[in-house]
Symmetry: D2
Subunit: 369 residues, 4 copies
């Protein structure tokens, strides 16, 4: 009897024993076996995300984010904040984010100015175009074409939109407003059904852009500012008013969740709501749910890539919070996660919309409709 | 007539003009607009990958890899090499890779020893388990449990498999063999239908592990070596014989394609086939198709992360080759790409299997069945 | 005569031929050989950076940044902007940045609010502490200690500083000011010689924080805002005024340079000065010199990691600009680069300080002292 | 008395209190304050590395690696293994590594074949050249110039060296040898004082290349193999013999340390010595000291980027081992670390050289000279 024969028999024996051991739970550490992804049973986006539960590394993190997402959607009192960084509109994610607004997957947005500008830009019928990351940028410049990695835009169209935007403040009628109020005015005027800003206006999702000056919208406002005759005229976007408004949102919501696409100001701004609440309202109130899609990393020490564990030390998320992070380009993870939620259907369909009733810079109450 | 009125009208006007411009092709650089991913039309994995054609950044690169994959599968003469690095079995990708073998998506594998070992390990009925990346490793060590990031294994089971593997050489009957021949012997003995090694044996897909000593399989062979009485006895895995065998494969294949999961020795070994061919057979023969799934980056100067453009300077890929790279965890990209290929169906079903007829270390011919 | 003998002789022959070839310039591509770093001749930081000229990968990029740095310092008309992101004060870089201000290596700062807050925090005698990235964050929270990766702070001290900061606006006397003016008021009051803010005030280096609300300074101001009785009282930080002020700086400077530590708002804000100038002043004016220390990457499509080539397509940097980027943690690269500049001495000593003479939000002129 | 006055006084008060608190140790978590790097006191590489002790993020990790390096050098019984991956010779690090051999900073090398080949290549008087990462690779190919990121080589010179190397085996006189023995034969013949291989031979530092076939050296041997008339002739590099030899090294050394430049086979091969020892010699023996310079990351699940904590679960490093990792391009970190060790002087000068006395594939003893 050769060892090879034993080899064969041993396989059967161990295989049986393996199954037994799983049932008996041979070690508390070794309870749940990895289940190798079976593509026959993985047809839809939901299938894939669901099956990532039993794989490892970043694919399992996709599932973990999905799980947190489901939890925050299922919580009947939770208000969900979306932090939006990175070039999501040149990235082709405009409709996915619009759908998040429309399908009640998020209640409040904090964004970079760029994402809002690119959304407005497309609302005018202008387009982003497929380009290459190895473009000849001197040549592009000569043709007045600008590049966002492997996407392209017509610079004259950008300037056209900036000029039109700089007309808006004349119509606002107020002197000092928050970015939220300003973006509401813009959203109201947009006709394009594909627009995030329009959908946000329609469905009552406030958009905050704390660093509005840091974008083409801000460039338009700066142009206007430069033409003011005296310092007592002209519109003022009061960023501290934004902070006060969003702090009230945090306070009035019994429970909050946070979704971060990238980091930057939007992430930090939503994260600091815990410390803000402590100072303003003497209540500890970190987020109860949080997940992040990022390509940054904790090891560089910056806020964009920092972990939710670190956030616990600050009271930015609750001690018992559900949280997850996946390290991946958002243009891949976002469609997977949102697609899986929509395909599963159950969770989000039951969710009520949160309506925020403002009087000036004071939040009066939150309606659940 | 206010500017806001103009604002509204302008949107319609521009929208029309935008559509016209697209038709007229206002600039040679701005031909193909970004199409924002529509989740309503994105149900399956194939839908997603197909729709990534018109998004940007790494999602578009997923599509580009898919396109290269389709091209290599469609080429009736192309022989496809898979370079396999990273902990794909603990990662839950065993079945996906097995399916790649079974469904004729690849013809030759070059792997790290670890991937082959983990496959054999599961063939014995042993399992990898769900763990956490924040494990208490001292505690795990006490329980003889080993960790692969967020996956776990029982160390005693590993040792059991190493011991059994060290019996195999006694049965081989030859003194000096290639890793390919050795792994064929192992593959023949495996019963488990889920095994990559078994499928490779069944379907005639050769597996090369040039650095076999650098793995638990190698540890088993080292144990055996340590018990040899004289240096003239015992099995020798001749890595140069591997190189000679795979060089013949490259030469006899009119056209070749390469798929890299990660980098390391498997990537470099398949990449160097161009230079090898030039030296041995005086023929230039880079790969015609190549794509890579990687988390490494060109900017560190290493081979694992280097671009296919750099590879052109070496003649590792053909000047006119189709190539793409996507920067992402392979446990996410691989199911997307293979899933999309299988769901589309057309391309891979027509493909014939390549059979390699060996006589010792000489490749006699390649059959297309 | 064996081949090994030939082998030996060949070395001599080739070595000679190699030297000849270098002299004769055998190929236009192969002019400058790599010079292997010689540690005997590498004692100081300047030695190291200088010798990185002839090595490869990111070390060579360190040298390239150094070279751009020297060029911008040598240009008698250049105004240098520093974009400051990341947790540089917890990172131990406070004194290095203070020295950049003091030694005339930079003329204008655009920063995240956090960096300014951490600087003020230390001005009060409070300290950041050595911690571990694997901290028990629940425990830290119980002790009211907050974590920034592997650095720690006392949360009560943070709150103490926030409270004190919220007293400052009462003293300002104006209603609507820019962040630059507000930070000047703070800088004037700081006694601590180690402070960046104090040095900036002393040496006339303006600091802009466009997203001031997104920081603990903003939290203090929000606290104040929440206590206002009517919307017509209280201080307003007008971010558009910031944009207008910095746009004038860009315009009045014949030539500009940009140094980016990290990305985020500070980078984008300095980068957009080119497009801003085009719109406001009808002049093309990208930066002539620019270098970036970053851990982000172009391939994710975001602005933080985007290349200076891409910036050319936007007119953010000049077509003929000198630019470089190095991919590395700034706590390593910044001391190397600034240290090398200071050790070399020649370039920075000759440089004159730029003084900006403001009247309200209007820049009157720039003095070179 | 205004609050601003208080603000000023408070600074003095807190500053005093701060100093007191530090002395009294107000919290066990807040013992050691960050010390902001002072460039005046940071002239040499040793100064910089030493001062990184009190900064954060990756700079502190540089110090931690330095500390581990010092510990392993100070341990009178420790044998130090260097794992060498990445394109270190094109990177300009040849002399630094040669100095590590010469100055007794390492005792054993495990390398990729490429690093050894590039070293031999330069021994012939050939050179690597400064290039650009944006090379036109089709043009380079036409000129037979190959690219390694931003370094260049002449392809004809590479082929010349491969051809010469393929002559060597005729002289070896043995049939089956380890890569260590083969590289000793090569090292003996090299005249160039700058060569790592020569220095290794001179000073008795064994070099193992377990995946020798995966390199240009392997290409040369494959060429030779292809010309063999029968399978019983020609040289065989027995990789399992390598494993057996290096396992004995591990066993005979009371204590071991590991330095990893990059990951790949060299890291895994040195890491697996613990498990190998357990199987072969029934003794637990992880490394007592280990540090890694890497640009990979644990989160992808691969071995190249995995943490030393994970390694503990495998018994690859000792439970009480000193270990550190720094995430940075090795062409920057290596000169810093080795430079600091050489400048400090004390530690390495006292170190004795380890001499390994072999008889065939058996290690007889280790001498400390």
């Amino acid at each position: 009897m050769t060892s090879l024969f034993l080899f064969g028999n041993f396989q059967k024996f161990v295989s049986l024993r393996g199954r037994l051991m799983i049932r008996k739970g041979k070690s508390k550490f070794l309870r749940q076996p990895i289940r190798h992804l079976d593509l026959k049973e993985t047809q839809s986006l939901f299938d894939l995300v669901k099956n990532f539960r039993y794989t490892s590394f970043q694919s399992r993190n996709i599932f973990k984010c999905f799980e947190v997402f489901r939890k925050m959607l299922s919580d009947p009192t939770c208000v969900i904040f979306l932090g939006l960084s990175g070039a999501m509109i040149p990235g082709g994610m405009r409709r996915v984010i619009r759908d998040m607004v429309k399908m009640k997957l998020i209640d409040v947005i904090v964004s970079t100015g760029a994402n809002v500008f690119h959304d407005i830009f497309e609302s005018f019928g202008y387009r982003h175009y497929i380009g290459s990351e190895e473009g000849n940028d001197d040549l592009l410049r000569r043709h007045r074409i600008v590049r966002v990695y492997d996407a392209l835009m017509d610079d004259r169209e950008i300037n056209q939109v900036i000029r039109l935007l700089s007309k808006v403040p004349e119509e606002v009628g107020k002197r000092v407003i928050s970015s939220r109020q300003y973006l509401e005015v813009l959203g109201k005027r947009i006709k394009d059904e594909g627009s995030i800003l329009k959908a946000a206006f329609q469905f009552g999702v406030p958009i905050f852009v704390p660093a509005l000056s840091d974008s083409s919208i801000g460039i338009g406002l700066t142009f206007l500012h430069s033409q003011k005759r005296s310092s007592s005229e002209g519109l003022i976007i009061d960023q501290i008013r934004d902070s006060f408004e969003i702090a009230q949102l945090k306070r009035m919501a019994a429970v909050t969740g946070a979704i971060y696409i990238g980091g930057g100001v939007p992430k930090n701004y939503i994260q600091q709501l815990g410390p803000v609440s402590e100072l303003l309202f003497k209540t500890e109130s970190g987020h109860r749910y949080a997940f992040q899609i990022t390509t940054d990393d904790p090891k560089w020490g910056g806020l964009s890539g920092c972990t939710f564990e670190e956030a616990k030390s600050w009271g930015k998320i609750e001690k018992e919070s559900a949280h997850a992070a996946v390290y991946i380009d958002a243009t891949i993870a976002l469609p997977l996660l949102v697609g899986a939620i929509l395909q599963e259907g159950k969770v989000y369909r039951k969710r009520k919309r949160r309506h925020f009733i403002w009087k000036e810079d004071r939040l009066k109450f939150i309606q659940f409709i």
